[in-house]
Amino acid sequence: MSILERFLSQVFARVQRRRKTQEFARELQADLELEAEEQQDSGVSAEEARYAALRAFGNTSLITEDVRSVWTTGWLEGLLRDLRYAGRALRKNPGFAVVAILTLAMGIGANSAIFSTINALMFRPLPFTEAKQLVRIFSTKYGALLTPNGAGRNGGPSGMDMRDFARNSHTFEQMVAYDTWRKNVSFGEGAGEPEQMQVGLVPPTYFEILDVHPLIGRLFTEAESQPGKNYVAAISVQLWERRYARDSAILNRKIRINDELYVIVAVIPDVIPEWMESRGRESGTIQVWTPLALSGIWTEEARGARGFSTLARMKPGVSLEQAQADLSTIAAALAAEHSIDRDIGVSVKPLAETRAGNLRPMLLLLMGAVSLILLIACLNLANLLLARNSARQRELALRTALGAGRAGLVRHLLAETLLLSLIGAAVGLLLAQFGLAALSRAHPKNLPQLDSLSLDFRVLLFTFVVSIVTSLLFGLAPALTGTRIDLADALKQGGRSGSSGPGSQRMRRILVVLEMAMSLVLLVGASLLTQSIVRLEHQNLGIRADHLLKGHFYLPGIRYSDPAAITRFCEEFARRVRTLPGVVEATVTTAFPPNNGWFQMLGIPEHPATRREDIPSAQFGVADAHFLTTMGIPLIRGRDFAESDNATSPPVALVNEAFVRRYFPTEDPIGRRMHIGPPAFLNIAPGSDISDSSDVTIIGVTGNFRNAGLVAPPDPHITVLYAQHPLVNYGFKDIVIRTTSEPRQLAAEIGRQLQQLDVDMPFAEVQTIQEVVEQQTGGQRFTTLVLSLFAVAGLALAVVGIYGVVSFLVAQRKQELAVRIAVGASRGRVLWLVLKQSLTMAAIGAALGLLGATAAQKLISGLLFGISPLDPATFAAAAIFLLAVVAAASAIPGARVLRLDPARTLRQD
């Protein structure tokens, strides 16, 4: 029979057991009566016949036993029996059982929780039909992605390139380019408070690719994708409920986007998950869509305008490689035909892969850490079991003497660990559920993928496998060592062989040393990460980051088409805000540390350029005269902007030290003139992309402040006054306010001031600068928090382990220690003897742990900031901490030594 057949037959046998054995009584009875009749036929009397029959058959109880054993042999029966015995043994030792189950619950629960997270981020199927065929298309330059980190959604080809891809490819059903923009939205005919939200600008193909059908209404038409005819909108079910009260006559109602009225033509179900369209800084699902109807896209001049978001569905049966090859061929043809596409390639990625974003290093780290925790838990339990098995030596010896083979004994012991593991896994799953629920509610804003963590069957299966493996890991060692029985010795009264023997003791010591090593690795990791986060968040941003509030507002082109009007609005708004009580200063600007993201090309006479690569450029920002004082940026040389610098006076600029170091390393920059804008030889029409074209004079040099994120050093930066540069005086503005007290308290009042100036204008993205920093480090903090928890748990387990071992050591050496004391050794010296043993173990464990931490440095280095993964101070501190903890944990049982009464100890046996 094959293995499967054998297994099934075991199962069937168990099922049929009772029936078959009952049936046998009947069978035996029938045959007995037949025999009796035959006896009678051959002349025996009626009563004699019955006895004769019984005699002929022999011992019927024995026969019945033998038949029953036919239906109850097999390893399944044996296992079930052992499990029952194991349950009984655990109930008799509730203390041990509780400790073991809790330890296991922690280890297995943590594993399940982390795996659930990984599942949500990587394995769980996407909520779309045939999701395997959904991909995103990205542009590459010289082989590298345009938006390398995270592979989120931006960084796709230009509109014209996408059109050529769609026309010439044969492996795709449909593809689409789209975008999302921040816009002011108000609901109904101007009723209710406006909100600023991400609006999706999508051709109808977007929904077709995802196979999302409107709940009510219809998708956009091709005709509606033209500018002028695009005033239709689709809203989400969530928005329909929240702002339109689920009005059944929702179609043909209006929605106001950037002061233009759109007609609602569809309600879209909430199927598209948040991570698909979130951009990291802002989050939240898209709730409003309008047709993509930008006039500039479909012209040859716009072929270089890359960066769209893309979505595509491959034809059924087409593989990723085929699609990639298809598009690469087309991209090569485009590169040959259009100079702007030179060196531009294409990369196709499955949609599912973009889900995990740049969380990969964090996930790997957490997986490693959680495995360590489980290992520590297993080692602890192995230790406990080893200690416990020593008490069972006589029982096991008895079993052996009665005929149990070694395999049977091992199975018996393993059954106990299996039972513990299964119960521990069940409790662990409960813990994981709670933990995940808490995590979901508290997830960092820029990790929306974590908002729907749950247990599904994959997690349950994983948990089950882990618990089996665990039970083998911690059960095998004690089971094997515990069954090496010297019969004669063990059966003797008072025999102290087996688990008390040197072999088993050494095993326990090794286990504890390993525990401590792993604990140390976790400690080092947690410490490094914590130091990183602290350094990252307390980065010198180059400004005075306390008491700063920021908010965003947008002046729509419809009503503010004149840059002078924008200037007037911003200046009036800032003036009003400065008069509010609690406000020290306020400035209207376009960006604030730690990010910026707006670059301009420059024409610096001292650095003439003839090739594209040589053109000087810098980060660019527009502000007003209160910029430096609000932000707290130091002025190093020259002068600040003044109220006298206005639309009619000569344009001026402030540069930062990095700028001076790059472009004026030996000369004084003050008074030099520059041109802001691309050089003539590039032939870019002025105003057709976001470039200026004016000349400025440098009047001052400021200290560096972060403009390229928290980690990268500051780029050269140039700041000008928006009042002096109408070409780049756009409606998007931020206002930064310095307050005397808690910044948030003023948020509502400032919003009201804004609405007094323009009733339809929301005051959006209101945060303190501190919160902005924290938001960017969200993922990092999350990892640090979890790893720190693990480190604490690991240390706790190690402490329990060492405590157990030292207690046992002391108990075992009681005689010897008593003799030493009796012979005259001071108690201090005797205590030191005991401590020396555990400290030696700790030292070896620490050494191993440091080696392990060194080996694991690659795992963690990607997440560190400002500190090396081999930082000696951290290593040393962690090792010393471990030794101290071990010393403390050993001191408690060791103190018993001090209370030893040598006379009494030596008298008892």
């Binding site: 078959k20 046998f24 069978e27 045959d31 037949l34 054993s69 036919v70 239906w71």
Partner: protein, 120 residues
């Protein structure tokens, strides 16, 4: 199995009992008692199957699916008995056991009577 107290005592292995039972059932379904009686009669009382071996053997083979059982009314006695019959797997096992037995017997004969060509 025991033999009547006679000079021809024969000791056989458990596997051989299985083979004999299977062979007996080749003729048609029978219940435990009938099988025992049949073997006794056919071997002219040389082999008497002990019931203590018979029933466990029958159930073992039933568990291995070499036999199938059914409760049927006996023709001549007005009572139900548990009749066993061969399954196709059982037939295969019988052929297998038979060929093994012949192999062993031939090997034994070669040792016992090396010169002669007589098969046992």
């Amino acid at each position: 199995m025991t033999a009547k107290p006679s000079p021809n005592r024969t000791e056989l292995l458990q596997g051989t009992l299985d083979m004999l039972i299977l062979r007996t059932l080749l003729f048609g379904p029978a219940h435990g008692h009938q099988i025992a009686k049949h073997i006794q009669r056919t071997t002219v009382d040389v082999l008497q199957v002990e019931h203590g071996s018979l029933y466990p053997a029958l159930h073992r083979m039933e568990r291995k699916r070499w036999l199938a059982s059914k409760w049927e009314m006996a023709k001549d006695r007005n009572r139900e008995f548990k009749y066993y019959r061969l399954t196709p797997a059982g037939r295969k096992q019988l052929a297998h056991a038979e060929s093994k037995w012949k192999q062993i017997a031939a090997a034994v004969a070669r040792v016992m009577w090396p010169a002669s060509e007589d098969p046992l």
